[in-house]
């Protein structure tokens, strides 16, 4: 179904451009791969966390006596036992390691236990007596943002960030469409729960084996809280069972370290699924009001938008999320007059932060819904309205930033629209087309499983209507707004068994995306040596930055490339006296060659706090989706028949891995459109389980048709463009638009549930 190149571009058949299999694949299919929850040491203890049942309360007292008295319990710790700084955080250190005198969300860690069996630890945690004095919880983000009488969640108030974007002054147009949209709270729902093993070291420090997205930023936060210098807090990446943003903030890192240092024994903490829902941030739910003005022929004149994001109890990455929502709030469209206000607020709801798409997802759902409304108002097709307003290289975004690399959106949309549509799901009660597949059979026999309701076989075709919808997304790649965003790579060439061998060492987190494969491919291409080993990621090499923002191929890929180039230069200079010298002889004579390089993308700049103007992003990536759905309008059931996507990735490094990223991102977007939502009521989570928080199964996912374009970005290594996030943006509005097309309903909120359709539709 894909039309992408698979030929390698280099001398090595396993270099850049080839579908090289994952080097950890065999370990993963045999069960030998060591995830953070698989680690085990003799004498190891198990940690457990006592969490607040209240979204907002004072803590009047904590009695750890009953827990300490239990056989098998080795330590019970509260905030008084935090050795160093009592607060941590990614952007703002506002989150207590353990609650200090108050709790601000349900699930906030209050105390820790180490015991010789996980069940003992859990029981001991439950035996701790905490006297809470519940107080009014701030649960309405609108109130938190705009009502001065709302109690402050933090002493500095409830506004985390307000980012305006202001350009132009013409806010009148022939055609005006408005809409209010909501996006529910989505969970990353990675499969490998938060876990890790902390081992006390002889030097008084701690060795932490952990599943994370960014070892060094963990180290930066863990060490001060332990009261240790950074060099005494050594982190190594354990196997990571998915991330999607949920491992950017700390979970059990400081807790396990505290317990290990206190008991002098290795301590492992593994969250269960329910605890995992409380142990990481979620995608910000959003309330958005949009007004689009256009000429009668569908050219955008202005966009006005208000975007409210509920950040929950602590800051996490809310500021950057607000920045993205604001700077990307009109989407990849040319418009001269823009007035956006994006707000992030504190409430006593679950903390929200990074998730794949990071602030761009919510806005994308709203602006794409608006584009469809505008198309209807102007009598244009959804594709045509987007083409008429599409950005291209040289366009100026609402922030004033000029798109300075290929952005062939109009062409992508044309290609997408030209892709063949899947045939109708033929049924006996709605046979409209002759079946060419089985000309001999008198009547085509449908597979009812392909209809809405699927294996439940709730229809033979009656009540089913088809819809087609489009979605376009634009996502910034790498960290933005002036962040010093870099990665470090150490590359060593040496002889092993008489053969040249490359060792690539970075601290970049392999979270499943396949960076481990890509790093080796780059080394092969740059050095022409096939034998490449990627060393385990740890803090003994410089920071690689986060495995987020679709940035690692770009930044760590760039660092590996730079280090390889430096190795090549060294080899060339060593060879200078004797150009005929082969690599083996060279290494025999001079020994291993090792170089370490940092790589930075072009600098970015802050957004002006009043106008939002500024070159805040280093790279922008586009993905477009077309969704075809069948909707059973009487039962409210949606079957996504096909999802097609066109994405420009600049340069394909590994076709199969890349397709996997697009497929996976698309699936998470479908999940947000149709089923995924953390239900929060009065600050309490109602569905912290995979029984009640539904993610797409294999039966929910349709076949996907991909077209992957390669229009190089001259600023990026190999011309590549980050690829992991854009498909997560565009698939949600595409599915929603298709359901609207099938039902004629407005559907202003995702996820769309059966009642949104069945109640509204005529029966």
């Amino acid at each position: 179904m894909t039309s992408i190149q698979t030929e390698p571009r280099s001398g090595s058949r396993s270099g850049v451009g080839a579908s090289v299999p994952r080097p950890d694949g065999t370990l993963k299919v045999t069960g030998e791969f060591a995830y953070s929850s698989d680690l085990w040491l003799d004498g190891m203890l198990w940690g457990a966390t006592l969490r607040s049942p209240h979204p907002s309360a004072w803590i009047r007292s904590i009695d750890i006596g009953p827990a300490l008295a239990m056989p098998g319990v080795f330590a019970v710790l509260t905030h008084e036992d935090v050795p160093g700084e009592k607060f941590y955080g990614l952007e703002h250190r506002d989150q207590p390691v353990l609650a200090v005198d108050q709790v601000r969300y349900q699930g906030e860690p209050v105390a820790l236990v180490a015991a010789d069996h996980p069940e003992t630890a859990r029981r001991a945690a439950a035996a701790i007596i905490v006297a809470y004095e519940p107080r009014e919880a701030v649960v309405d983000p609108r109130r938190a943002a705009f009502d001065p009488s709302c109690p402050p969640v933090h002493p500095h108030g409830n506004l985390v960030r307000h980012q305006p974007v202001r350009v132009g002054d013409r806010f009148q147009a022939e055609v005006v469409v408005t809409g209010e949209y909501e996006v529910g709270m989505q969970d990353q729902a990675f499969l490998g729960p938060e876990s890790g093993l902390a081992v006390p070291a002889e030097d008084g420090g701690v060795d932490l084996f952990i599943a994370t997205q960014w070892l060094h930023v963990d180290q930066d936060q863990v060490a001060p809280c332990l009261g240790l210098p950074k060099e005494k807090v050594r982190l190594s990446l354990a196997g990571v069972g998915g991330a999607f943003g949920a491992r950017e903030d700390l979970s059990m890192q400081i807790h396990a370290s505290m317990l290990a240092l206190r008991t002098g024994r290795p301590v492992k903490i593994v969250y269960g699924r329910e605890e995992s829902f409380f142990g990481h941030v979620h995608r910000h739910p959003a309330w958005m009001r949009y007004e689009h003005g256009a000429t009668a022929d569908g050219r955008l004149v202005y966009v006005r938008a208000e975007i409210l994001l509920d950040g929950g109890a602590y800051c996490s990455t809310s500021r950057a999320v607000v920045g993205n929502a604001a700077s990307l709030g009109v989407g990849p469209y040319e418009v001269d007059n823009v007035r956006i206000d994006a707000y992030g607020v504190y409430t006593n709801n679950p903390p929200c932060g990074a998730m794949r798409g990071f602030g761009a997802v919510q806005a994308c759902y709203a602006y794409e819904s608006q584009m469809d409304r505008l198309a209807e108002a102007c009598g244009l097709s959804p594709v045509e309205i987007r083409i008429r307003n599409a950005v291209s290289q040289g366009s100026r975004l609402a922030t004033g930033q000029v798109v300075d690399s290929p952005a062939p959106l109009a062409g992508m949309l044309r290609e997408l629209a030209a892709m063949p549509l899947p045939g109708s799901t033929v049924t006996r009660r709605s046979i409209t087309e002759p079946s060419s597949a089985k000309p001999s059979s008198a009547e085509p026999v449908p597979d009812l499983r392909s209809l809405p309701g699927g294996v439940s076989q709730t229809t033979h075709g009656e009540g089913v209507r088809r819809g087609v919808g489009y979605g376009v997304g634009i996502k910034n790649i790498c960290f933005s707004e002036g962040f010093d965003d870099y990665s470090t790579a150490r590359v060593r060439v040496e002889l092993l068994g008489g053969e040249p061998h490359v060792l690539v060492h970075t601290a970049a987190a392999e979270v499943g995306q396949g960076l481990i494969t890509v790093k080796a491919q780059i080394a092969r291409t740059e050095l022409g040596i096939d034998k490449v080993t990627v060393a385990p990621a740890d803090t003994s090499v410089g920071s690689a930055g986060s495995s987020s923002a679709s940035r690692q191929s770009y930044v760590t890929g760039g660092a590996v490339k730079a280090a390889c180039e430096a190795v090549r230069e060294r080899l060339d200079s060593l060879r200078a006296g004797d150009p005929e010298l082969g690599l083996v002889e060279l290494l025999e004579r001079f020994g291993p060659v090792e170089e370490t390089r940092e790589y930075r993308h072009r600098p970015t700049f802050p957004m002006d706090p009043v106008t939002g103007q500024g070159d805040s992003h280093t790279q922008l990536a586009l993905c477009v989706h077309r969704a075809v759905v069948d909707v059973d309008v009487e039962l409210g059931l949606v079957k996504v028949v096909e999802l097609a996507a066109v994405q420009d990735v600049g340069r394909i490094l590994n076709p199969v891995a890349l397709e996997g990223q697009i497929h996976g991102g698309t699936a998470q977007g479908l999940g947000l459109a149709l089923m995924e939502e953390i239900q929060v009521r009065d600050g309490r989570v109602l569905n912290p389980s995979f029984t009640d928080y539904l993610i797409p199964t294999i039966l929910d996912m349709p076949p996907m048709r991909l077209s992957i374009l390669e229009n190089p970005d001259p600023h990026a290594p190999y011309g590549l463009r980050g690829a992991g996030e854009p498909p997560t943006l565009s698939s949600t509005p595409a599915v929603a638009a298709a359901v609207r097309a099938a039902t004629g309903l407005e559907l202003p909120r995702v996820p769309i549930r059966p009642e949104d359709i069945a109640l509204a539709a005529p029966s």
């Binding site: 579908s19 299999p21 994952r22 950890d24 694949g25 065999t26 370990l27 993963k28 299919v29 045999t30 069960g31 030998e32 791969f33 060591a34 995830y35 929850s37 698989d38 085990w40 069940e119 990353q188 729902a189 990675f190 499969l191 490998g192 729960p193 196997g239 990571v240 069972g241 998915g242 999607f244 593994v270 269960g272 699924r273 597979d447 499983r449 392909s450 294996v455 499943g512 995306q513 396949g514 199969v656 891995a657 397709e659 996997g660 497929h663 996976g664 991102g665 698309t666 699936a667 998470q668 389980s689 995979f690 029984t691 993610i695 199964t697 294999i698 039966l699 996912m701 076949p703 996907m704």
Partner: protein, 170 residues
């Protein structure tokens, strides 16, 4: 209590098992077999799928005592021999080759479930049958497309291997 289980063809015993432990916990923490994964421990994700007396089940919902004297095969038991790459089962090989593995946390459970589907189906299953058989295994990374590719590939190869074996002179 003491629990005896035939795991991957070997009679193993675990001592001091607490009654509330699951088969999954016993395998992972007492018998040194962490291949089956602990993703939800509620039977909702399939990551802990193992064979119990020949049928795939969620090991997280099997009480340790229920497994007494029974035969268990985990993902570790599907490969043969010491050379990992050579000894892979066709399902395992296909998952690597087709790009069906990303983070890999769902992989062991999917491989056991897919193995069961292929072993119990004489023909190469259709995509719809593959989807139906794997509906109890959640994956968050892949969108399932490459997983279907892998199962189709493994089933085709197994069918070919069987046909070749039939043809081969004895």
């Amino acid at each position: 209590m003491r629990v005896h289980i035939d795991v991957n063809g070997e009679r193993l015993a675990a001592d001091d098992v607490w009654e509330g432990e699951s088969l999954l916990y016993v395998l992972r923490e007492r018998l040194g077999l962490p291949g089956a994964k602990n993703a939800c421990e509620q039977g909702e994700c399939g990551s802990c799928t193992v064979y119990l007396d020949g049928l795939p089940v969620c090991a997280c919902l099997v009480a340790a005592g229920q497994a007494e004297g029974r035969e268990v095969v985990t993902v570790e038991g599907l490969a043969s021999g010491d050379d990992l790459d050579q000894g892979l089962d066709e399902v395992q090989r296909a998952f690597v080759e087709a790009g069906a593995v990303q983070c890999g946390f769902c992989t062991p459970g999917l491989i056991v479930q897919a193995h069961s589907l292929i072993e119990s189906t004489p023909q190469v299953p259709e995509d719809a049958d593959i989807r139906e058989a794997l509906a109890g295994n959640l994956c968050r990374c892949t969108g399932y497309e490459k997983i279907i590719d892998a199962v189709r590939l493994a089933a085709t190869r197994k069918a070919q291997n069987k046909a070749a074996q039939k043809k081969a002179p004895r």
